[in-house]
């Protein structure tokens, strides 16, 4: 499907906030990103995942017009990042990874300066500065010199700066990196609140964060998009090979024989736990054997204290995908894109 041919349709234009097609960036001989294509719809919150050096920051820097692409096209809010960069920059609130701020300024002074740069006039500037201070819980820190703030608060100042001009799209590069668990929770809550108003593209390698925040996930590896789907669907990819665990009180030999006879079970391991047996059944692809296992347990009148599917999370998917053990078709990608 050619995203740019379709984008001539007005209805399509209103649906897509970010459209990236065959984006490539080379630094000398090193290819940072290689033919990346994806789209982010208006109002979506999308996570860009990937190991270090996957090309996440480079992609975000191109989208925020900080570095140019070597090839391909990127549109943000319908404006081309290469030919209409000023329009893109006025539609985007970008938070770089290191959150660079002028450490000699006070928080309010900094926000006033940034607001003026973003074209806000006096009355609106005053209103917006108070609004973002409140939104980012910085009201009590307005007069503090930025250099004296903790990393968590600096991150909030960076976010407040992003929100000042009410952009259509937020691009956040690792917004929780280097923060302690409490600060991470605060920033996550803040971003979750923002997702109701803005389109958000967030890069991170903290996977639970993506599961909690994002509607859709793009996984990058070695400069390419290697998976694109909802976190639930991606986790579902691993389900076929999921383990079912049962802890039953019965003759170990009979237990093993009974469970091995179930058609969905590929292999099993039985661990003795005193009188109890802990059976870990490796299931065949797409098979859910819990009901059959329960039936066997009832038929044999065994006591049971646990019957559960081992939960897979995005981390398992991430590892499987970046190590190349999942098929491209399974990851919601066209084979030629992979």
């Amino acid at each position: 499907m050619d995203g740019f041919a379709v984008s001539t349709c007005p209805l399509f234009e209103t649906l897509q906030m970010i459209e990236v097609k065959n984006l490539t960036k080379r630094f000398g001989r090193v290819t940072a990103i290689n033919g990346v294509s994806f789209e982010v719809g208006k109002g979506e919150i999308v996570g860009l995942l990937g190991p270090n050096g996957a090309g996440k920051t480079t992609t975000l820097r191109i989208l925020s017009c900080y570095v140019p692409a070597t090839g391909g096209d990127a549109l943000v809010g319908g404006a081309d990042v290469f030919t209409d960069s000023l329009a893109v920059r006025s539609k985007v609130g970008y938070l770089p990874e290191s959150v660079p701020l002028y450490t000699d300024m006070r928080v309010v002074e900094y926000l006033r300066f940034r607001g003026a740069l973003k074209g806000l006039r006096r009355g609106r500037l005053r209103k917006r500065v108070s609004a973002v201070l409140e939104q980012c819980n910085l009201t009590d820190h307005g007069k503090v010199i930025i250099g004296n703030l903790s990393k968590g608060f600096r991150q909030r100042v960076g976010l407040a700066d992003c929100l000042l001009h009410e952009p259509e799209c937020l691009i956040l590069d690792e917004p929780t990196i280097g923060l302690d668990p409490n600060q991470i929770r605060h920033i996550r809550e803040l971003i979750r609140g923002l997702a109701k108003q803005y389109t958000v593209l967030i890069s991170t390698h903290i996977l639970p964060e993506v599961e909690m925040l994002c509607e859709r996930v793009l996984i990058m590896n070695e400069g390419r998009i290697v998976a694109s789907d909802t976190p639930r669907a991606l986790v579902g990819l691993m389900k076929g090979n999921a383990n079912v665990i049962a802890e039953v009180l019965g003759s170990r030999r009979v237990v093993i024989q009974a469970f091995e006879a179930i058609s969905g079970v590929e292999s099993l391991v039985c661990e003795p736990m005193g009188e109890w047996s802990r059976v870990i059944c490796q299931c065949k692809k797409d098979a859910d054997v819990r009901a059959e296992m329960f039936k066997v347990i009832c038929e044999n009148k065994w006591e049971v204290r646990e019957l559960t599917t081992e939960r897979r999370n995005l981390e398992d998917v991430f590892v499987a995908i970046t190590k190349g053990s999942l098929d491209a078709e399974d990851r919601g990608l066209e084979v030629e894109d992979a």
């Binding site: 900080y66 660079p100 940034r114 003026a116 740069l117 700066d161």
Partner: protein, 243 residues
């Protein structure tokens, strides 16, 4: 233009938030005044114009003043990473360069005011000086303004080319000192015509303006170099978006 003014105001505030502004201005004014008084004392009884002596005393310290102010302008932004937030804000490269340039030039001119006033202070305390030629002072101020405008534009360009402030300082100092050696260099080259030497010589310009003779040609020369340097800086900054 409004955004350039915003950047200019921030730069000036940043200068005055740090001790840089205070230390630089006090040291510059003290050094140029001391040099001026020493030169006046040495040349007591000669026919040399006091304004010319003052201008030479100030020019001696200008490369250092401009270097200290300009070396951090963009190199510091690059080092601290704030250039990323500046370049991703909806602001043109022209506004960034003009804002930075205006702030540095305004500060340099602010520091020059008390240095120029030294001549009036000397006239009030020294009975030997009967009067100060106002045309010479105006001419001196004009050439001082033009040359510093030109030097600051060179400083902005150099600061843009590196993220290391020490490299920026050394290159800036070398580039600003070059015009002082134009005449001796040009004289040493036999194929350069005298009229060309006179036209580009900083020494000739200062002497001419300090005697009250304003020259449009010289003004055009310095303004052209300034505009060229600023244009080059803007294009180099813009090139980040397409290289």
């Amino acid at each position: 233009m409004r955004k350039a003014l915003t950047i200019m105001k921030r730069e000036l505030c940043s200068l005055f938030y740090s001790p840089v502004a205070y230390v630089t201005s006090v040291v510059f004014v003290a050094a140029s005044a001391w040099t001026f008084l020493q030169a006046v004392e040495t040349r007591a009884g000669s026919e040399d114009s006091v304004v010319l002596i003052l201008l030479v005393s100030i020019f001696l310290w200008i490369p250092i003043l401009v270097t200290v102010i300009c070396m951090r302008l963009l190199a510091e932004e690059k080092r601290a990473g704030t250039l990323e937030t500046l370049m991703t804000a909806p602001v043109t490269e022209t506004a960034i360069i003009l804002g930075k340039y205006a702030s540095a030039l305004l500060f340099v001119w602010l520091v020059l005011v008390p240095s120029v006033l030294t001549v009036y202070w000397l006239a009030t305390v020294s009975p030997g000086i009967e009067s100060i030629d106002p045309y010479a002072v105006v001419g001196g101020c004009v050439i001082l303004g033009l040359i510093t405008a030109c030097c600051v534009s060179v400083g902005v360009l150099v600061s843009l080319l590196t993220r290391n402030q020490i490299v920026a300082a050394i290159c800036c100092f070398a580039a600003i000192c070059m015009p002082f050696f134009v005449k001796p260099l040009a004289v040493a080259l036999p194929f350069v015509r005298d009229s060309v030497v006179e036209y580009v010589s900083l020494e000739t310009h200062v002497v001419g303006f300090a005697s009250g003779g304003l020259s449009l040609q010289v003004c055009v020369l310095y303004l052209s170099v300034t505009i060229l340097m600023l244009f080059a800086s803007i294009r180099i900054m813009e090139s980040r978006r397409w290289l």
